[in-house]
């Protein structure tokens, strides 16, 4: 069988989610191609061609693809599916947006956010906000799947797959891109970061969130996250939210500061390798999942942690 992976990128650079999705694809088949659909994606395609295990890279370019308009991306992928038995897409906001369209147009099931490939027909996915894992078997001959990238290791680089252009498709006739408000940040991206520092409602204000969480994150080279409570209170922007209704992260190190640990937050971070919780409430549920707990007010704990990190040469 042959598998198509749709690359995660921002037209300028390829995201690590692509490498992780290639790993999931290689669990299905040895024949894996990558589609880079966007605008001005030569550098992205060249990067994708280096991923070990990739047979070839396809590029498709148009304005609508550059903006990742769902109708346009689905229309580009659809005719390619004549040559593939499965398409795997990272479950980002882009992937979740267009992938079910491809499934509907092929009259097959959409299999959302798999965390494990059991065999070519059988997959594991989280349901009920990660409180249960569902193993499902597909009877479709063509599979349309989104992949929770954090559940897979990134494929290595070292290959040099050929790159060729394919038809961009008809674009989107009934919807138009109006504008973007993308926040530029020098910090690593939340979903793929090795270390995440998250703040909760205990911060009390947006100023305090900036003052406490961001310097610690920058010292560790970490991404910044937040609980839903902190986001709802306006202390942190929406796209910082870690949890069931936000981003699912699984970094090497997750530091939760002033976060009580609601089920909805735990659903977004409980697969992290090491979890640290700093909270003044010794009974906070976050301590039940934390590898290391420090019962202390963040106001004293975070400055001490900064000092201890400096002392340890971090």
């Amino acid at each position: 069988m042959a598998v198509l992976v749709v690359a995660d990128h921002d037209n300028a650079s390829l995201k690590d989610n692509t490498h992780k999705t290639v790993t999931a694809a290689l669990a299905l088949s040895g024949v894996v191609d990558v589609l880079v659909a966007g605008q001005g994606v030569a550098a992205v395609a060249a990067h994708a061609a280096k991923i070990t295990g990739v047979r070839k890279v396809l590029t498709a370019e148009s304005d609508a693809l550059g903006k990742q308009v769902a109708e346009a991306v689905a229309a580009c992928v659809l005719p390619l599916m004549a040559d593939y038995d499965a398409v795997l897409v990272p479950a980002t906001s882009v992937g979740k947006n267009f992938t079910p369209r491809v499934a509907a147009l092929l009259d097959v099931a959409a299999i959302s956010e798999i965390v494990e490939v059991v065999d070519v027909n059988t997959f594991v996915r989280a349901i009920y906000a990660g409180n249960a894992l569902e193993t499902i078997k597909s009877s479709d001959t063509k599979k349309v799947i989104t992949v929770r990238a954090t559940a897979f290791k990134a494929a290595d680089e070292g290959g040099s797959a050929p790159i060729s252009a394919v038809d961009a498709g008809p674009g989107a006739a009934k919807s138009r891109f109006v504008s973007d408000e993308i926040v530029k940040s020098d910090r690593p991206e939340l979903a793929g970061a090795k270390i995440v520092v998250s703040g909760g409602r205990a911060m009390g204000s947006a100023e305090e969130f900036h003052r406490v969480i961001e310097p610690l994150a920058d010292k560790l080279g970490a991404a910044v996250g937040a609980s839903r409570a902190a986001v709802d209170a306006g202390y942190a922007p929406n796209d910082y939210q870690v949890g069931q209704t936000g981003k699912v992260v699984a970094p090497q190190l997750y530091i939760a500061i002033g976060i009580s640990g609601a089920i909805q937050h735990l659903a977004g971070m409980k697969d992290s390798k090491v979890i640290v919780a700093i909270n003044k409430d010794a009974d906070a549920p976050i301590f039940q999942v934390a590898d290391y707990g420090l019962v202390s007010d963040y106001k004293t704990a975070v400055p001490e942690l900064m000092a201890a990190l400096t002392a340890a040469g971090v």
């Binding site: 308009v69 769902a70 906001s93 882009v94 979740k96 947006n97 079910p100 369209r101 509907a104 147009l105 097959v108 099931a109 959409a110 299999i111 956010e113 989280a126 349901i127 009920y128 906000a129 990660g130 409180n131 249960a132 894992l133 569902e134 193993t135 499902i136 078997k137 479709d140 009934k174 919807s175 138009r176 891109f177 109006v178 973007d180 993308i182 926040v183 991206e189 839903r228 929406n238 796209d239 209704t245 089920i263 390798k273 090491v274 979890i275 640290v276 934390a290 290391y292 707990g293 420090l294 019962v295 202390s296 704990a301 001490e304 000092a307 201890a308 990190l309 002392a311 340890a312 971090v314």
Partner: protein, 249 residues
């Protein structure tokens, strides 16, 4: 202008799902059920559009067991005008749901389908996109702001890294994200009034029948539990542990 709002009856947001010991699914016996929170947000948005005068009629539709009438009744108490229950004891997949909703849309002729971005039981986040594709109506998912005119709808969407705004021709499918609005509580007079509103009880055969399923559930299991680790005395001990014991610094 008519708005169609699909609503789903799911386990209440505040109840922790428990896996059945025979691994056949999640135990829903004697568990509090409520309207899916994202569907509630969609209902609220439809009502706000009606209050602004942009919408004349809101139709709430649910696919599920007879008890899903309660979910529709909640939507009616919030301010929807009438309801349709497609009664089935099957637990249809997103594609099956999208096909039934397509038939409802063709029968009712709404200008807008406003629905939740995902249900908190299956966590698929697929029906809106599938419905849009099957109807060949444009889509905007994960909406945090909706502006409706007579011929189009402008939707601001929550995407990774920020926001994106799209303009869609009507009719269109829009799915609601968490921050679109805060749903109202139904007032007692409105709850009483909702009892008089019409809910049409239909079968899947009224809408072309239930298509064949494509997925079979092999098993449902509990995820591996994390065990609580150790408490450290101070920040210095924490850094030492992270560096030497865990090796993550």
């Amino acid at each position: 202008m008519k708005v169609l709002v699909p609503v789903k009856r799911v386990i209440d947001y505040n109840v922790k799902a428990r896996v059945k010991s025979d691994q056949s699914g999640v135990d829903l016996a004697n568990v509090k059920m409520s309207m899916n929170p994202f569907c509630e947000i969609a209902v609220e948005e439809a009502i706000r559009l009606k209050e602004k005068g942009a919408v004349e009629e809101i139709i709430a539709v649910s696919i599920g067991p007879i008890q899903a009438q309660e979910t529709i009744r909640t939507a009616l108490a919030m301010g929807a005008d009438r309801g349709i229950l497609i009664q089935t004891d099957a637990d249809p997949e997103p594609l099956q749901v999208a096909k039934l909703l397509k038939a409802v849309a063709l029968a009712e002729g709404p200008s807008l389908i406003l629905m939740g971005k995902q249900a908190i039981d299956g966590d698929n986040s697929a029906v809106g996109q599938m419905l849009s594709a099957l109807l060949d109506w444009p889509q905007a998912t994960f909406a945090s702001k909706i502006e409706l005119t007579a011929s189009n709808v402008r939707v601001t969407r929550e995407v990774d890294g920020g926001l994106q705004t799209l303009e869609l021709d009507l009719p269109a499918v829009v799915t609601a994200d968490l921050r679109l609005n805060e749903p109202r509580y139904a007032s007692l007079p409105n709850i009483m009034k909702a009892k008089k509103k019409e809910i049409a009880i239909k079968t899947v055969d009224d809408y072309g029948g239930l298509s064949a399923p494509h997925l079979a559930i092999v098993k449902v299991t509990e995820p591996a539990k994390r065990v609580a680790g150790v408490k450290v005395e101070n920040a210095a001990e924490l850094v030492t542990k992270l560096k030497i014991e865990a090796g993550v610094l």
